[in-house]
């Protein structure tokens, strides 16, 4: 039987029943990666020895009756998570030789539960991108159509789950980097509320926006993964000390009686007709399941992209100042003096998109422009956040498309940064507001590319969007489809 297209909860049951061992599952996934990754390019680094050792330990733990839901489950991590003793590149040449000296908190929590880590996944360099074409290790291909992008920046994470190369993965979402690739690859992706999951040991892009979250085969797996990594961490000063609910316990409470808002600014011209139709069909499904659908307004939506690119690049220019060729990472061989060493190491190590964003951010923070750009954006951010809080005073959650189109062809938008940035217009406002949102499959285009549905929740109310998503998933068949390649 094939074990590379199963969910965490099904595999957990089979592991406990003794029908399969973690070592067998891990071998099956390593084989699958070997057979498919030449075409997909989802992995940057594989850890077969570490994974098989962890699997053997997990089998011993299962035999002792101490199995957690994740014990023995083969997973993989976006290469932005520090993993002790394993190369961690963030898909950048500047970190090509970096071996992390410790585990980030989310990684440590998964290891404590006995998860098996297969390796590190491809991504856009420093998580900057919407198509996974900005990796120093080459682009990731979408398993549904190898000529299209998987989305970004967690494109490797989404593609690996879709292609059966890992049961579940972790990504990060700064402007939609979990939800948009989940949508393009037909998997479930969740961006938790800012502060819900620790960012300790996650390489920083834009610190006030970045959040860690799962990409999984179904909604129940998403709840399981979130449960494993959520919760306060004293090592991250932005981690929020709130109780973490039992997400799996409330999954089956249904969608009936929930009030769902449709923000009218998200159903606009430019939205692909096939995406629009799939989302409208999804709305009808929710209504049939007993949800009340109302129109709401997020009036500052049109300003979110401009606001995001100032806030994110400003924070990025500051975070990326740490790459100076002195303490870790690649150092130029042609430096004349210390200042030259910084400038050349950075110029040689960073890719084009990273340099573009550092330059924009440095400009926005520079003397004379700070008020007009950065401070202005932070004020507009307040308006965008207030839009969401006003909407959530009327409804329990919001429903929108994830992206204006399905996955686009590789190379189509690389020449025009602004066009590329527009592919995140429906996900970016959530990061600015700091709240939570989930992407799940809701249809396919005529060409067979997946379409995603976004459910946006109140701050720290991941339970409600998971519950609504689970009800939708039970009523539809979209999540049961797998790519054939």
């Amino acid at each position: 039987m094939n074990f590379t297209d199963r969910t965490i909860h099904e595999l957990h049951d089979r592991l406990r029943a003794g029908e399969v061992t973690s070592v067998e599952l891990t071998r099956a996934h390593l084989e699958r990666i070997k057979a498919t990754d030449g075409a997909i390019n989802a992995y940057i680094t594989l850890c077969p020895e570490e994974a098989l050792a962890a699997a053997a330990a997990a089998d011993a733990r299962i035999a002792e009756g101490r199995a957690d839901l994740l014990t023995g489950i083969p997973i993989a991590l976006k290469d932005i998570f520090l993993t002790e003793g394993v190369r961690t590149t963030c898909a950048s040449k500047i970190l090509d030789n970096f071996v992390a000296p410790y585990d980030g908190t989310a990684v440590a929590r998964l290891k404590e539960r006995g998860a098996v880590i297969l390796g590190k996944l491809n991504m856009d360099e420093f998580a900057m991108g919407s198509s996974n074409e900005n990796s120093a290790y080459g682009p990731v291909k979408n398993p549904w159509n190898l000529g299209t992008v998987p989305g970004g920046s967690s494109g490797g994470s989404a593609a690996a789950v879709a292609a059966g190369q890992a049961v579940a993965t972790l990504g990060t979402d700064t402007g939609g980097s979990i939800r948009q690739p989940a949508s393009h690859c037909g998997v479930v992706g969740l961006k938790p509320t800012y502060g819900r999951v620790s960012r300790y040991g996650v390489i920083a892009y834009a610190s006030s926006l970045d959040q860690v979250g799962p990409l999984t085969r179904d909604v129940e797996d998403c709840a399981i993964m979130l449960q494993a990594v959520a919760g306060f961490d004293g090592a991250d000063s932005t981690s929020v000390d709130l109780p973490v609910p039992d997400y799996r316990a409330t999954l089956k409470d249904g969608i009936a009686g929930l009030k769902i808002g449709l923000p009218k600014e998200y159903f606009i011209e430019g939205l692909d007709p096939e995406v629009k139709k799939a989302v409208e069909t999804a709305i009808a499904v929710c209504r049939n399941l007993g949800a009340e659908i109302v129109e709401v307004s997020l009036p500052h939506t049109d300003y979110a992209l401009a606001c995001y690119y100032l806030v994110a690049t400003a924070e990025a220019s500051s975070n990326l100042a740490r790459y100076d060729g002195v303490r870790y990472g690649v150092r130029t061989e042609s430096a004349r003096g210390l200042s030259d060493l910084y400038s050349r190491s950075r110029a040689e190590g960073f890719g084009a998109e990273v340099k573009r964003r550092i330059m924009l951010g440095t400009y926005a923070l520079s003397s004379g422009y700070y008020d007009a750009y950065y401070l202005k954006a932070q004020k507009v951010r307040t308006l965008i956040r207030q839009d969401f809080l006003d909407a959530f005073a009327q409804v329990d959650l919001l429903l929108t498309p994830v992206a204006p189109t399905a996955a686009f062809p590789i190379g189509e938008k690389t020449a025009d940064p602004l066009q590329m940035y527009l592919s995140d217009i429906f996900t970016i406002p959530v990061n600015l507001a700091g709240t939570c949102a989930l992407s799940l499959p809701c249809g396919f285009t005529a060409e067979g590319l997946p379409i995603g549905l976004q459910l946006i929740g109140k701050p720290f109310d991941e339970a409600t969007i998971l519950r609504a998503a689970w009800a939708f998933e039970q009523a539809t068949e979209w999540h049961k489809e797998s790519p054939h390649f």
């Binding site: 410790y102 932005t238 929020v240 110029a347 340099k355 550092i358 951010r381 307040t382």
Partner: protein, 95 residues
């Protein structure tokens, strides 16, 4: 407001990026287009609006001042491009 190449060169110096000619040319056009787009924020009246640095309202985060082991010199230096005597080595700063 048009972005000029000397401005881009100035920003590159601030950002410590030794860019080449082609990069300066490309960035001058791209930054001009992107900054032209983000200028739409000026349409909004934000007089009296408090800026948001963090979306989640938080008081300062305090923890007990306890001594805990850190990663140690060896681990801290394991990724150093050049190290000597427990220190990171860099080119001479003073002539």
């Amino acid at each position: 407001m048009k972005i000029t190449r000397p401005e881009v060169e100035h920003v590159a110096r601030l950002a410590r990026l030794a860019l080449d000619d082609g990069e300066f040319d490309a960035l001058t056009g791209e930054m001009d287009a992107i900054l032209g787009y983000v200028a739409k924020l000026q349409e909004l009246d934000t007089e009296g609006i408090v800026p948001t640095a963090h979306a989640v309202p938080m008081e300062n985060a305090f923890r007990d001042d306890l001594v805990k082991p850190s990663i140690g010199i060896e681990a801290a230096l394991q990724n150093a491009p050049d190290a000597a005597d427990g220190c990171f080595r860099v080119p001479k700063v003073i002539e």
